[in-house]
Amino acid sequence: MEPITRGITPAQRTVPPLSRRRLLAAALTVPLLLGAAACGGDDEGGSGGKTELSIYWWGAEKRAELTDQALALYTQKNPDVTFKKTWQGNQGYFDKLATLTAGGNAPDIFQIDDNYISEYAGRGVTLDLTEYTGNGKLDVSKFPESLLKYGEVDGKLAGIAMGENTQGLVYDKTLLSKNKLPEPKTGMSWEEFIDWAANVSKTANLPGTQDASAVYQALWVYLRQGGKDLYAGKQLGFDEADITKWFALWKGARDKGATPTPDVIHEGNASDVSKQLVATGKAGTSWVWANQMPELKKSTDSELGVIAYPGDPSAQWARASMYFSAFRGSKHKDVAVDVINFLANDPEAGKILGTDRGLPPNLDVRKQVADTVSDPNMKQTIAVQDELGKKFGPNPPTVPPQGHSKVRSELVRVAEEVVYGRQTPEQGAASFVTAAKAAIGQS
């Protein structure tokens, strides 16, 4: 400090404080102004007849390509509307969506699935689309009723299904034919299937099947086959005895050598499609959704087949594989809904999107796509889903309640405890039921 004051004449001294004060003022105001300008920019995005909608989805590169094309078609038909597109892989998608929402910057349109739709709808993030289906701005007349219903949370239409799928057991055809083994068939009992897989392990020297004990949609089908369900409204639809049976079934499978070693089972329990064991060549079958088969095919040279999960296939149901929802705080709600309507119903858009997100939700579009599709794997998927669709029972489950994604991760954790031999099926069942109740807030 000393050098500043020394040797300065009084006349000189009067000037610097003023400029310092100005400097302070400037230092304080410049960031504020910049901030305000940035906010201003956001607000004015929609004026002047031009609208830019933000849209966000997860998926692989192929999905991005197809969605890009479909959105470009919309812009071509509605030159005033352009899109700010963001997409990424599955992992981390919902973390980012939650962060965007927390900052009040949720995209105008976002992809979501039944793991989280109740979380978002229950907290009022999604726009209730009932009004739009009522006034005809959103056409759902060609949707299967159960598929539309699967987007309803607490009586509000929270999302529009962009695809339909159902449980699909994908198996390695090449492996089986090479070893002259029979293919698995829809309608096999769980025990028959496990024996079949044990036989594959023995003959082909590769584990016959991924262990399904941690796969929630397999447990779900298994429960429904026994007259139970994963949920009954906002309560659990099963009890400890059901889970004990389920874990014991798979312990039996492991003892028979039908499944891989625990570390490989753990690898295959990753949610990533490309890590499924049938794609990485570490097991003969994987437990996925039927529409994922063409995506799995990309990671392997083997021919793949897809059938229903073991047991009675009527316990399966037409599930909305994913939805598009509109943000309730969007500044362009009507446009956002119109885009969703276009993606779901427009025949040209449907043709572009194909079955990447599942069977097209609009039955007319679905028929048209089925007639024109050329990819043999997609063809097979459509045929199998059509076939299974005829067998579905009359009481499909409703969309899972809040806490469902936690229930899923708890199932993986507990099932792996049992797989690694750290808990017996009974202990596992007890701790899973406790954890699942806590997750959905059931006392």
Partner: protein, 327 residues
């Protein structure tokens, strides 16, 4: 400032006899100087307030609410101490995460410091190309918290990874280290220990400060290498050891990236790598329970603070400062 009285030309120090100069004029000038100081500080100050202090206070408030990132802050319900009660009494995975984190810190920190000191002593000699070696040993910590490194680690310690191929040379069949609940945490510890570069550089600087005469005197008295290490190097180095210990302990408790990458963000297999911060992240961003996550963060802050205070208190017994008269 201490030299001011010896400068008779300085109007401020010559002032005692002239009350005018000590009056309001001086105070105003002083205030202006302070103002200038704050202006120059302001970028940092704004950051501290806007990016650290205010969010921290908000998170303290949120820790008493049921806030979820999906709702506006104003809609969060006040639930008192429920989050804290749940943490301490009902949530088993919380205590599991505490146990994993403490294990990690207790093992990784001493090993890392030992490795850093050992390598620093090796590198503390004059030799051709020694600076190249120093650079090479520091390299892993430059890549430190990076995601890429953790990914490499996972592929190295897989069942069919490089480490098992190496073991196979000796006819040993390796384990699926990262996918085995008994070993996954050990691979994380190894990764942390391997990144010993930062404390190593600090040790190296500390070693250079130890007077050579002490070693020479000890040699004349016939002391062995080990005795010199115990009776000269360690005491002389103790302030540096203490500094590294505090830093690395805090770092150790905060380990996140490698655990996140290794377990795909789940803390698996079967929660064996569920570090405290990862558990907190899952609560806030996956389970959307941000109020609870905030409570976890505050307990974490207090515990790390307490551990640091504890370390400072024990330091009295084993840290020797050479400039004793200033203590």
């Amino acid at each position: 400032m201490a030299q001011m009285p010896v400068r008779p030309t300085d109007p401020a120090s010559a002032a005692p006899a002239a009350p005018d100069d000590r009056g309001p004029g001086r105070r105003v000038r002083r205030r202006r100087e302070n103002l200038a100081g704050y202006v120059f500080l302001s970028p940092w100050l704004l950051g501290l307030i806007g990016i650290t202090a205010i969010p921290m206070l908000i998170s303290l408030y949120l820790s008493f609410t049921d806030y979820s990132p999906l709702i506006p802050l104003t809609e969060a319900n006040w639930i008192g101490l429920d989050n804290y009660r749940r943490m301490f009494t009902a949530d088993q995975s919380y205590w599991h995460a505490v146990q994993v984190t403490v294990t990690f810190a207790l093992v990784a920190v001493p090993l890392k410091l030992a490795a850093a000191l050992a390598v620093a002593m090796l590198l503390n000699r004059t030799m051709r190309g020694i600076s190249v070696f120093r650079g090479l040993f520091y390299l892993p910590s430059l890549l430190g918290g990076s995601v890429a490194l953790a990914i490499v680690w996972v592929s190295m310690f897989n069942r069919d990874g490089a480490f098992n191929s190496f073991l196979a040379l000796f006819g040993i069949e390796g384990l699926p280290w990262v996918n085995d609940p008994d070993w996954a945490l050990s691979t994380l510890i190894l990764l942390a220990v391997w990144q010993f570069g930062a404390p190593m550089v600090i040790f190296l600087a500390g070693l250079k400060q130890v007077p050579v005469e002490l070693y020479e005197a000890a040699s004349v008295d016939g002391a062995s290498g080990w005795r010199k290490f115990v009776h000269i190097t360690l005491p002389m180095l103790s302030p540096v050891i203490f500094f590294n210990l505090v830093l690395e302990t805090i770092n150790g408790f905060q380990g996140f990236t490698s655990a996140f990458v290794l377990s795909n963000g789940t803390g698996g297999p079967v929660d064996s790598t569920l570090m405290y911060t990862l558990n907190l992240y899952i609560a806030g961003f996956v389970d959307l329970d941000m109020g609870y996550a905030s409570a976890m963060a505050w307990v974490f802050l207090l515990v790390i603070g307490a551990i640091t205070v504890l370390l400072f208190n024990t330091g009295r017994f084993w840290v020797h400062y050479s400039d004793n008269e200033e203590r």
